[in-house]
Symmetry: C2
Subunit: 416 residues, 2 copies
DNA sequence: GGGGTTAGGAAAGGGGGTTTACGAAGTCCG
DNA sequence: CGGACTTCGTAAACCCCCTTTCCTAACCCC
């Protein structure tokens, strides 16, 4: 059983303070203390650390009611760069962020179905990472880390992609392969958790101790924020919600079971919902998820009845599933994230809210908000970069002595 | 957002140490340190605290390989009493425990359906609590607390039963009502969480940071142990798993929805499974859940094909539901608890294991054990009493000065 | 240019856990 | 039978964390 140490408190507080600074960028220590609930002294210490790391800078002063002006700090955008890599079935998407998490450069590599070998994927990642660094004109030393999101089960400690269903990878030592080509610190995890962390730091889950981040893309999952941090489970595979049975003996899922949530509310599932409702619909682009979802989104805008009905139908499944999560976790907020959610937007959320309200118990429902992710870019990239940010921040904790002289080691009076 | 303080660490460690002592009763500080991962010094401090509280006592010595013997400590059974109250639809069950959590006295009050008013229920509880105290011949001052488990949504802070479906209670200030009649410290929560805590302290979840306690009774729920402690959610209603949709548009549930897990694997649901399979079965006692489940259990023992099939069928639903929990939480262990699980026992668990294995993803499945609760008595009573124990232990943390003279508290040399 | 006010830093203080040192209480063996 | 060796358990020193308190810095106003 993992034991919590007082160090963890410091780390959590450091995260919290930096989150707050990034969110409300020019801000004062006073404001930070109020927002985080920490004492002024602690905030000052943490701000001092971050200043020393050059992650933030002092940017001026702000009038205070008649007294000494408040010093303002802001993210030091040029204090370093973070890279987020989103590996998906058909593409590798890489973004380079400054410390304010603005995108400075982007690169995308298309991956053809035949290129499913790990080495090929590593090649794509390496190329794209090189590209964004070059584009942004950043010197290598300023890259604080690279977060990599790869689908499937990931062992963070060993950096092994234990199982990636898309390419039938088994126990691929991805971290080692990447390390050979990329010199920056690497952090590996899966998109589910990346998106959840992005939401925790920069999105709708910020400042919430309990949140569920529902990931609606080609696949479906639920990142769990519990007790203020990401819940990973015992083998880092928590959050696999896509294969929850929602219709016993329902649609066949590629996982081998029937009736998984994913087969109804993932992009292919939504296509199927559309096809079942209106087989000849012009909204349907048989081989193209992205186009079909985009067409549905367009349809919603012009109140196309078929589009509305498909969304309503999808929301019915999604609402039932989310209601289960609300009952089970009693979260403060449920965030709908990823590209399908972003595309279908508020109309989907509104339908989902209604559907959830029909299914969930009143008390947990009353405590829960259901919102769309406010994150405008690819949340998996952002989340992956956030892992890198967390990593960079974590290593601050590594108190490496500081007693430079290492005095009198000789004190050893060897016994025996 | 709740902030963790270093005090919480101490509390958690105190819990852990006491748990370990209760579990392995005569035990040494060495063993405790090894089991908890704490340093010897910390264990010694905590043991010292518990000794001073008279919750444990020194009970002798144990040979150590050639050196000073280890001092042994054990629970001081007579150091206090804890009372657990399990309020259910048709009965109020009260047990009085010593500090080793042995049952010293029991009382049961039957509740007739007409007696659903809170005052009547309070009367039953008061009577039963008085009864167990009298039976056990305990002086009032020795009762450390009374834990009360009441179905539905409970606000622990205010002690209000916000909603209890059985009796249509709304915002009943149960704690206040009980306080008028019961002088001991009171702790209120619901059976779901009581059972989970019982399992965490004394059952199959002991020492596990992540566990799911599936509660199979008339109602169904899932107590969540996450990060070493009970997960309550933002309004203390986490764990409501019974109304998870498992069959879209399935059986009508009293919650108003269709296809809830509870309607398939709760005791009434199992009866329905039986009725659907074999309408005229002699196993069926139409108006008596307890008798029907008992008959099924008997049937299993003699390999009655109908009983086997009913259990298999129930396990099919249950397995699908539990697989979802395994995927979602990635727990170390799933514990099947409460009277239905106890009655159907290993045959049910074996079927459930198979069913879960069919539905869950391989990786989380590999990390999860599915076991029957080892707790022999009413787990809700035990869990309620555990809340009282936690409460008593918590108030130790209230260091109010300590500048009290009280030196040399009676220099009692430990009895040889 | 003093008083009043507010910000921010330094020091003290209260928790917590661990490491180290040392006395206590046995065993082993000459 | 007593010293040497072992092992336990406590006390003290140390490090980490957060908060409270005190004091100085910096600005406003009169």
């Amino acid at each position: 059983m993992k034991r919590g140490t007082s160090r963890d408190i410091r780390t959590a507080n450091r995260y919290e303070v930096l989150r707050q600074i990034i969110a409300a960028s020019p801000t004062s220590r006073q404001e930070l203390a109020a927002a985080t609930g920490l004492s002024l002294a602690t905030v000052a210490t943490l701000v001092g650390e971050l200043l020393e790391l050059r992650m933030i800078t002092e940017v001026g002063f702000e009038d205070s009611a008649g007294g000494r002006p408040r010093g303002l700090v802001a993210v030091n955008a040029s204090g370093g760069a973070l890279i987020g890599v989103d590996i998906a079935e058909t593409y590798v998407h890489v973004e380079l962020f400054d410390l304010a998490l603005n995108v400075l450069a982007r690169a995308e590599e298309n991956v053809r179905p035949v290129e499913s070998r790990p080495e090929q994927m590593v090649g794509h990642v390496t190329a794209a990472v090189g590209s964004v660094v070059a584009q942004a004109g950043i010197e290598g030393a300023r890259v604080l880390g690279v977060g990599v999101s790869v689908p499937g089960q990931v062992d963070r400690a060993t950096g092994i992609a234990e199982y990636a269903p898309n390419w039938d990878w088994h126990d691929v030592p991805l971290l080692d392969l990447l390390t050979e080509h990329i010199a920056y610190p690497l952090y590996l995890d899966n998109p589910l958790r990346a998106v959840a962390v992005a939401e925790l730091w920069f999105g709708a889950a910020r400042g919430r101790g309990n949140a569920v981040v529902v990931n609606l893309g080609t696949g479906v999952g639920a990142g769990l924020i519990l007790g203020g941090g990401l819940h990973r489970g015992v083998s880092n595979s928590a959050g696999e919600w896509g294969h929850t049975t929602i219709v016993l003996d329902g649609r066949l899922c590629h996982c081998g079971n029937h009736g998984c949530v994913e087969t109804y509310v993932g992009a292919p599932g939504i296509m199927l919902n559309l096809r079942e409702l209106s087989p000849g619909s012009t909204l349907l682009h048989p081989e193209d998820q992205t186009a079909t979802i985009a067409a549905l989104a367009q349809g919603l805008l012009r109140h196309d009845p078929v589009a509305l009905e498909v969304v309503r139908n999808t929301a019915r499944y999604l609402g039932a599933g989310i209601a289960d999560l609300v009952n089970l976790f009693n979260p403060e907020v449920v965030v709908l994230s990823s590209w399908v959610a972003a595309a279908l937007g508020e109309p989907l959320v509104a339908e989902v809210r209604e559907a959830v309200a029909r299914h969930a118990l009143p008390r947990p429902m009353a405590a829960t908000e259901i919102v769309l992710s406010p994150i405008p870019t690819d949340p998996a990239c952002l989340g992956a970069a956030t892992f890198a940010l967390e990593g960079a921040l974590q290593s601050v904790g590594q108190r490496n002595g500081k007693k430079r002289s290492t005095p009198a080691r000789s004190r050893t009076a060897p016994p025996s």
